[in-house]
C-alpha cells in the first residue's frame, strides 16, 4: 500500500453540484434563522462587537450581561451584514494531508469548495490560499466558482509547509483553516486574534488516525519528516492513543477560544454532508 494513498484532489461535477446544494441550503438556513432574530431584535446579521449606547439605539441590542458586570458601561451589540465581507480560506496541502483512503486533502478541498460557494452566495468575496504559498484568484461572484474548482484540483499533498499565523490577513472578516494541524510546537502562535475577525479551524484526520489499530505489528511513518516508529498495537495502547488524541483536541479548542475562534474535528472518512453540518454547527456555537 502506498504511504500516501490519496495525494491529489478530484472534484467531479456531481460533487460540485452537491457542494452548491449544501451552500445554498446553508444560506437559506441562515437567512431563515437571522430573519427570525431580526424580527425580534432588529436588523443585522453577524455579531461584530460592542459600542457605547447612544440615544436612539434599539434597547433590545443592549448587552445586559455586560451591564451586569460593569454597571458604569452601557453597550450595545454591533452587527454587520455579510454583504461586502471578505472570506479567507486556507488549505493545508502538506504531505500529511495525503493520508487516508479518502485523503484528508480531498476532504479539505470538498469542504473548502462548499464554504467558498456559501460565501459567494452570501455576497462575500472569497480568497483561497494553500500552506505551500499558492493563491487562487479572488472570487466575488458564484460564476467564478469554476476557477476555484480548477485551483483546488491542482493541489497535491507534498512538502511540509504547515499553515501558520492564521487570521493575519488584514482584510478578512472570516477565516477558515482546513488542516490536520500536525504542527510542531515551534509553530505557535498558530492563531492570531484581531478585532472584527472570526475564524474556524477545521481539523481533519484520517480514519486510521481517528481509530488506531488495536492489534498487529505496524510501522508508523510520518510522511513529512520521514520519521518511523514501530508499533505493536493492542487495545490498551489504542486507548492510550485515543486519550492523547482527546487531550490534543482539547488543547486546540482552548487555543481557538483564547483567540475568539472555534475548532471542529472531522474525519476524512466522513461524507461532505456530515463534515459541512459539523462545520455549520460549530459556527452556530
Amino acid at each position: 500500500m502506498s504511504l500516501l494513498p490519496s495525494p491529489g484532489v478530484r472534484l467531479e461535477d456531481a460533487l460540485v453540484r452537491r457542494a452548491l446544494r449544501l451552500a445554498a441550503s446553508a444560506r437559506a438556513g441562515r437567512l431563515r434563522e437571522e430573519g427570525l432574530r431580526a424580527h425580534h431584535r432588529g436588523a443585522g446579521f453577524e455579531f461584530e462587537g460592542y459600542r457605547d449606547y447612544q440615544p436612539g439605539d434599539d434597547p433590545r441590542e443592549i448587552d445586559w450581561d455586560l451591564l451586569a458586570r460593569d454597571p458604569e458601561r452601557v453597550a450595545v451589540r454591533v452587527r454587520r451584514s455579510e454583504q461586502g465581507a471578505h472570506w479567507q480560506l486556507l488549505l493545508d496541502d502538506s504531505a500529511s494531508m495525503g493520508l487516508g483512503a479518502r485523503g484528508k486533502l480531498q476532504c479539505a478541498a470538498e469542504l473548502a469548495l462548499t464554504v467558498a460557494a456559501w460565501g459567494l452566495f452570501e455576497g462575500a468575496s472569497v480568497a483561497l490560499a494553500s500552506s505551500s504559498g499558492a493563491r487562487a484568484p479572488l472570487a466575488e461572484r458564484i460564476e467564478e466558482l469554476a476557477g476555484l474548482v480548477r485551483w483546488l484540483e491542482s493541489r497535491v499533498a507534498q512538502g511540509s509547509a504547515a499553515p501558520s499565523g492564521i487570521g493575519a490577513a488584514a482584510r478578512a472578516q472570516r477565516v477558515f483553516v482546513f488542516s490536520d494541524f500536525s504542527l510542531p510546537a515551534a509553530a505557535e502562535p498558530l492563531f492570531v486574534s484581531r478585532a472584527g475577525l472570526s475564524w474556524l479551524a477545521v481539523e481533519i484526520l484520517s480514519a486510521e488516525e481517528r481509530e488506531p489499530p488495536e492489534g498487529g505489528a505496524w510501522l508508523l511513518v510520518d510522511p513529512e519528516s520521514g520519521e518511523e516508529r514501530r508499533l505493536r498495537a493492542s487495545p490498551e495502547r489504542a486507548a492510550e492513543y485515543l486519550r492523547a488524541l482527546q487531550a490534543r483536541s482539547e488543547r486546540l479548542d482552548q487555543r481557538a477560544r483564547a483567540t475568539r475562534g472555534a475548532c471542529v474535528h472531522l474525519s476524512s472518512a466522513q461524507s461532505l454532508e456530515q463534515g459541512f453540518a459539523s462545520l455549520r454547527e460549530s459556527l452556530r456555537r
Binding site: 493520508l99 500536525s182 486510521e208 510522511p223 514501530r230 505493536r232 495502547r237
Partner: protein
C-alpha cells in the same frame, strides 16, 4: 507409511507458512500517520529492538494450524499397510506375444502399475497358461487375447490384430498369411542349407523311410550339422532290447530305459517317443515290419518327424497370427486399496476445532 490422494494440494501448506513469516517480520504493516507524537508518549512503543523477528500472535498460530489441517484434509491422507501386496503375473509366452512387441509393452505397463500401486510382482511365463486355474485376486493375467475373462483376477490384454507374415514351410516353399488368407511363396527357402542328423543307431528298417522323407523335405542329413532342424536320438547299437512294442504296422524291440516326456504316441503308460521342438528321442532298438511297409506306418513317422521339425525362425503359427482381440485393462485390487485407513475426516475435524479456537482466542 502416510500417503495422499492428491499430493499436489500439499503445496497449500505454503500459505500458512507465508502468513507466519509475514507476521513474524518485525516491520509489520506500514501505516502513514501525522500524529506520531501521540504514540511516542507511550513508553511501550519505543524505538524498535535490534532483532528483526518477533513471535507471532497465538490467534495467528491457531489459524495457521487450522489451515494446515484443512489442507491435509483436502489432500486426503491415508496410511498404507506396511507389507507390499504381492501379485503374481501370469504372462502369456506364446509366439503371438512376440508379434508387435506385445509382450514387451505389456511388461512395461505392468511394471509401471506396480511402481504406482506399490504391488510386489512375481512373474510366471508360460505359453498358453491354464488361466482358469489362477482366477483369484492375487493374480494378474497378461496376454494379447483371451477366450474367457477372469472373475476375480486382474486382466491386461494388449489386444491382437491379425499380423501378416510367414506361418510355415512346405519343403522349400513358404506359407505366408496376408492378413486374411494364406499364400504360397514357391522356393522361398530353397537357398537355405537345412540339415538334420541322427544320433545313435537308426533302426535299419526305418532308414529308407527317413531318407525319402528328408529328400521330400529337401533336408540334408549331416551327422556333423551344428544347428539341425531335427535330430533323431536312438539308443546306441547293441542295446539290450528285452521287450517288444506294437506300433502301427510294425513291431519293435525297446530298451530297458523308460522315457518320460511330453509325447506318448502309443497310448501306453510309458511313452516310446519324446518330442521336443527340433528333437525326437526314442528307445526303439530294432524295428520289424509286420508286412511290407504300410502307408499308415509312413504317415505315422512322417507326422512324427514333421511335428518336431523346426520351422524357419521367421515363421509364427497361423493361429497366432490370426488371433484377434481388443485391448483391455482391469488391474487387480491391491491390499493397500482394500485396507488403507483414511485420515481425512480426522484432519477436517482438527481444522474446525483449531479455527474455532482461533476465533475464541481473538475474542477473549
Amino acid at each position: 507409511m502416510m500417503r495422499f490422494e492428491a499430493p499436489l494440494l500439499l503445496f497449500g501448506l505454503l500459505l500458512p507458512l507465508f502468513l507466519l513469516l509475514a507476521a513474524m517480520r518485525r516491520e509489520g504493516r506500514q501505516l502513514g500517520s501525522s500524529l506520531l507524537a501521540l504514540w511516542r508518549e507511550q513508553p511501550s512503543s519505543g524505538p524498535s529492538a535490534p532483532r528483526r523477528w518477533q513471535a507471532p500472535p497465538m490467534a495467528l498460530l491457531l489459524v495457521c494450524a487450522a489451515l494446515c489441517a484443512g489442507v491435509l484434509a483436502l489432500a486426503g491422507p491415508y496410511r498404507a499397510p506396511r507389507e507390499r501386496p504381492r501379485i503374481t503375473v501370469l504372462l502369456d509366452d506364446s509366439p503371438s506375444m512376440q508379434l508387435e512387441q506385445r509382450q514387451a509393452r505389456l511388461v512395461e505397463r505392468i511394471e509401471g502399475w506396480s511402481r504406482a500401486s506399490g504391488a510386489q510382482l512375481e512373474w510366471r511365463r508360460a505359453a498358453h497358461p491354464d488361466w482358469s486355474a489362477h482366477d483369484s485376486a492375487e493374480y494378474l493375467w497378461a496376454s494379447d487375447a483371451i477366450e474367457r475373462y477372469p472373475e476375480r483376477a486382474g486382466l491386461v490384454l494388449s489386444g491382437a490384430r491379425p499380423v501378416p507374415g510367414p506361418v510355415g514351410r512346405a519343403g522349400a516353399d513358404r506359407l505366408v498369411f496376408d492378413g486374411s488368407q494364406l499364400q504360397m511363396e514357391a522356393g522361398a527357402y530353397a537357398a537355405e542349407q537345412r540339415s538334420v542328423r541322427v544320433r545313435g543307431a537308426l533302426p535299419a528298417a526305418l532308414q529308407p523311410l527317413w531318407s525319402m522323407w528328408c529328400e521330400k523335405q529337401q533336408l540334408l542329413v549331416d551327422a556333423q550339422a551344428r544347428e539341425p532342424l531335427l535330430e533323431l536320438v536312438f539308443p546306441e547299437s547293441g542295446c539290450s532290447a528285452d521287450r517288444e512294442w506294437q506300433g502301427p504296422g510294425f513291431r519293435a524291440r525297446i530298451g530297458l530305459a523308460a522315457l518320460s516326456g511330453e509325447a506318448a504316441l502309443s497310448g501306453e503308460a510309458k511313452p516310446r517317443f519324446r518330442l521336443r521342438p527340433g528333437s525326437i528321442e526314442s528307445d526303439l532298438c530294432a524295428l520289424q515290419w509286420q508286412a511290407a511297409p504300410a502307408a499308415e506306418t509312413a504317415v505315422f513317422f512322417a507326422s512324427l518327424w514333421e511335428q518336431a521339425l523346426l520351422d524357419p525362425s521367421d515363421c509364427v503359427p497361423l493361429a497366432e497370427r490370426q488371433q484377434s482381440g481388443a485391448e483391455h485393462t482391469a488391474w487387480p485390487a491391491t491390499e493397500r486399496e482394500q485396507q488403507r485407513e483414511s485420515w481425512a475426516a480426522e484432519c477436517a475435524w482438527a481444522a474446525l476445532l483449531l479455527a474455532l479456537s482461533a476465533c475464541w482466542w481473538r475474542r477473549r
